[in-house]
């Protein structure tokens, strides 16, 4: 192709959408006078097949090497016309659009002359750029057929199983000694009342037995290098001080261990030993020595038959090579102490909902008996307080946590089943029962179980010093009455917050987070599990509060999205990215510092762009003092030519 631009211009009527306001003929006639223009035509609908054929025919017959279409927004039909160009053998990036519909005919309907002038100006600007366009190729990179899943809760479990079943290698990294996540701590699940462990543990076992899944527990992701298809991930495995291959999980070590400490799995309500598994169905069933509390007495070592105790174990670093990453790091339970008015941590008989789950759980610290912390008696009245740490701007959490209404109703029903005479109140703002079968579940709680719903939440909770009962001052907003109520036990329906290690994960993965602190999806509706970092996906509550069904859906969705580049085996990357003029670059490193994607590295005093990491925003080009950093398709020359063209008439 010769460098001499041979431009074809096509002005669209868009029925009467454009032609009803703009004098199309005048624009065409004007276009013919512009430098480098070989043909200028109009058509009723340029995007239709006949319209596109016009372009294709001209490319071949008139040897056109630049195409400009003046029509609707490029956000609408740029891909259509680019395809038409390549079908006629022209590089699709030798195409430019002038938006004369959304930006002219539709917004200046009563000023046809001014709209026509604007169309002529925008066409002239488009031609100025088109003359300088250069052909671009989409680079391709190979994709490693392996995935890293961060977080072993139900989202990560589901994603791992789906990917592994498709034949991809999966590394499942979990920071605690066992997979299972918060779901493993729950008792029953709404609205079906399945026991949480009963539906979860088979999946945990599937993970452990799957030939394509490698579980890496008690480990953290430290660094992520590379880009889609070719991530290099550094994972640090903390020492368990137990040989993972030979440990049989028999538990003799824990029986022998003399040290007893609060078990974090039970939120400190029960105890565990200094050598432990967090819960009996833990996967992998390998004991871990908690080095903070271990006194080194070696009692465990003495009783361990397979001789698995290894006190000289050290932290170990492993490097994983993966093509895609799924972040399923879960959430953190809201710290109820931050709502001082409820007296959590001060009044014995104020507990949180997650503690309630552990207390009614048959494998929990009390064997499933709910007893008051102050005196070990069964409560005759319980008040559930909703929206603790959710829908509350005063503590910075304006969002709804989406599960608290339903779990409170579920827990109220469970207690009513065993104690029909107990007085159960739910103090709420609004009940949100939006899922399948949820509203019915809520109705039944009122009608069949006699759970009382009171619209209004206590301003403050006081304690009767003698009985340790709780005194609630609450306004029933339906009746407009102030009530004094006494409860044996108060359960705070605590919400969800972004996970503890969100900052660290955000940094290593270079992801964005929304105002609520949860991780941000690429598009809230159309790309709900993608992120803006190609090859990295989100699953579960790390993206925002959600219940178990939605979390499982997202786990599968993320797996499916991640499998696309892996099944293709290669990805095409966007060619509209930064490029350096080596001659002019002085190695000042401004671009390197300004890039938010780590895509630029200065090597031997010359900036180098990583084609895959670069997103093409142009931040580097806008900052470059020498003009050596350029964005393809939006180069200084091209933009300057447009600016000049914009004011040509003035001169």
């Amino acid at each position: 192709m010769s460098d001499e631009p041979r431009v074809g211009i096509y002005v669209c009527h868009c029925g009467i959408n454009i032609a009803g306001v703009i004098d199309v003929e005048e624009v065409v006639d004007y276009a013919k006078t512009l430098d480098g223009v070989i043909v200028a035509r109009d058509d009723k609908y340029m995007c239709s097949d006949p319209g596109q054929d016009l372009i294709k025919k001209d490319i071949v017959e008139n040897k056109l090497n630049r195409i400009v279409v003046a029509a609707c927004s490029p956000r609408m039909h740029e891909p259509t016309f680019r395809t038409a160009c390549s079908e006629a053998g022209l590089n699709p990036y030798l195409f430019e659009m002038a938006n004369i519909r959304e930006h002219a005919s539709w917004v200046h309907m009563s000023e046809p002359e001014a709209a026509t002038q604007k169309a002529k100006d925008q066409v002239r600007m488009a031609v100025a750029k088109a003359r300088l366009l250069e052909p671009l190729e989409n680079p391709r990179v190979d994709v490693t057929k392996a995935s890293l899943v961060i977080g072993g809760g139900i989202a990560g479990i589901q994603a791992s199983l789906d990917l592994a079943d498709q034949g991809y290698k999966v590394y499942l990294v979990e920071k605690t000694p066992s997979i299972g996540g918060v779901m493993a701590q729950l008792d029953k699940t709404f609205p079906t009342m399945d026991c949480s462990a009963c539906i979860l543990t088979p999946k945990m076992v599937d993970v452990s037995r799957h030939p394509n899944i490698e579980m890496i527990t008690y480990a953290e992701v430290k660094e992520v290098d590379g880009y889609i298809g070719n991530f290099k991930v550094k994972v640090e495995k903390k020492p368990k001080f137990v040989n993972a291959d030979s440990c049989t999980g028999c538990g003799q070590c824990a029986d022998a261990c003399p040290i007893e400490v609060p078990n974090e799995f039970d939120y400190g309500l029960g105890t565990r030993k200094a050598i432990y598994v967090p819960f009996p169905q833990a996967v992998p069933l390998i004991y871990t020595v908690d080095s903070e509390n271990c006194v080194g007495c070696r009692m465990c070592d003495n009783v361990c038959d397979p001789d698995s105790i290894e006190f000289d174990q050290k932290a170990e670093e492993v490097i994983l090579e993966v093509g895609t990453i799924i972040l399923a790091a879960g959430f953190k339970v809201f710290d109820a102490k931050r709502k001082e008015e409820y007296g959590y941590g001060v009044h014995d008989n104020v507990i949180t909902a997650i503690e309630f789950e552990r207390l009614i759980n048959a494998s929990g610290p009390t064997g499933g008996k709910l007893l008051r912390p102050s005196d070990g008696k069964e409560p005759k009245s319980i008040g559930f307080i909703q929206c603790v740490g959710s829908r509350d701007v005063t503590i910075g959490n304006p969002y709804c946590s989406r599960v608290c209404c339903m779990y409170a109703i579920k827990n109220a029903r469970l207690y009513k089943e065993k104690h029909p005479d107990a007085e159960i109140y739910i103090f709420y703002m609004d009940i949100r029962a939006f899922g399948k079968g949820y509203e019915e579940f809520y109705q039944a709680a009122q009608e069949d179980y006699g759970v009382k719903f009171l619209k209004g939440r206590p301003a403050k909770i006081d304690e009767d010093k003698n009985t340790k009962n709780l005194l609630l001052n609450v306004e029933d907003t339906m009746l407009g009455a102030n009530l004094e109520m006494e409860m044996d036990l108060v359960v705070l329906s605590v919400g969800m917050e972004p996970p503890e290690d969100a900052d660290q994960l955000q940094k290593v993965l270079r992801l964005s987070r929304s105002a609520d602190g949860f991780f941000m999806e690429a598009h809230p509706k159309l790309r709900p599990v993608d992120t803006l970092t190609a090859g990295v996906f989100l699953a579960g509550t790390v993206q925002g509060p959600k219940d178990i069904p939605d979390t499982v859906v997202q786990g599968s969705a993320a797996a499916s999205r991640a499998s696309i580049p892996m099944s293709k085996g290669e990805v095409e990357v966007e060619p509209v990215i930064a490029t350096v003029d080596d001659e002019a670059c002085i190695g000042c490193r401004i671009c390197e510092r300004v890039c938010d994607f780590g895509a630029i590295e200065v090597v031997e005093r010359k900036a180098k762009v990583n084609d895959v990491l670069c997103q093409g925003c142009g931040g580097c080009a806008g900052a470059c003092p020498t003009g050596s950093m350029q964005i393809r398709h939006f180069s200084d020359k091209q933009i300057m030519a447009m600016i000049e063209a914009a004011f040509e008439e003035e001169k």
Binding site: R75, H103, H108, E111, G619, G622, I643, F647, E650
Partner: protein
């Protein structure tokens, strides 16, 4: 003849340009004084683009991006904000009024905000008058 200002707008593809499209789809009417250059992100804005526009005879320059925190490339608009501030400080020395340069955040759904911005900016520039740099 009344003074019809020529204003050049640099709009980011993901928010402000899309917001301008939305104004069109909703048939919101505004003055025809803008000419638009689409860039992928306001981060692309080289301060010399603004200066070039003024030296070519622009009566006003408008830069439209995503709201802070919404930039498609995370923080491109913060970069633009800094650079526009820089040029703002320079305008006085060139004998140009500060009002001639405007930076505004418009989201893809804010068609009305875009239309109102064009109206307001155009009438501001009408008040300020033709650019002294316009080649006579």
């Amino acid at each position: 003849m009344t003074f019809e200002p020529k204003i050049l707008g640099f709009l980011c593809n993901w928010c402000c340009y899309a917001g301008a499209d939305m104004a069109g789809t909703s048939r919101m009417q505004y003055p025809p004084n803008f000419r638009i250059i689409r860039i992928m992100c306001t981060a692309r804005l080289d301060p010399t683009f603004i200066l070039k526009a003024f030296s070519e005879g622009a009566d006003g320059v408008f830069i439209g991006g995503c709201h802070l925190g919404d930039c498609h490339y995370v923080a491109g608009n913060y970069k633009a904000e800094r650079r526009v501030k820089l040029v703002h400080d320079l305008l006085g020395e060139l004998g140009l009024e500060k009002e001639r340069l405007m930076l505004k955040w418009v989201s893809a759904s804010e068609g009305e905000r875009f239309a109102n911005t064009v109206k307001d900016f155009t009438s501001t520039i009408k008040k300020v008058g033709p650019s002294p740099l316009r080649s006579a």
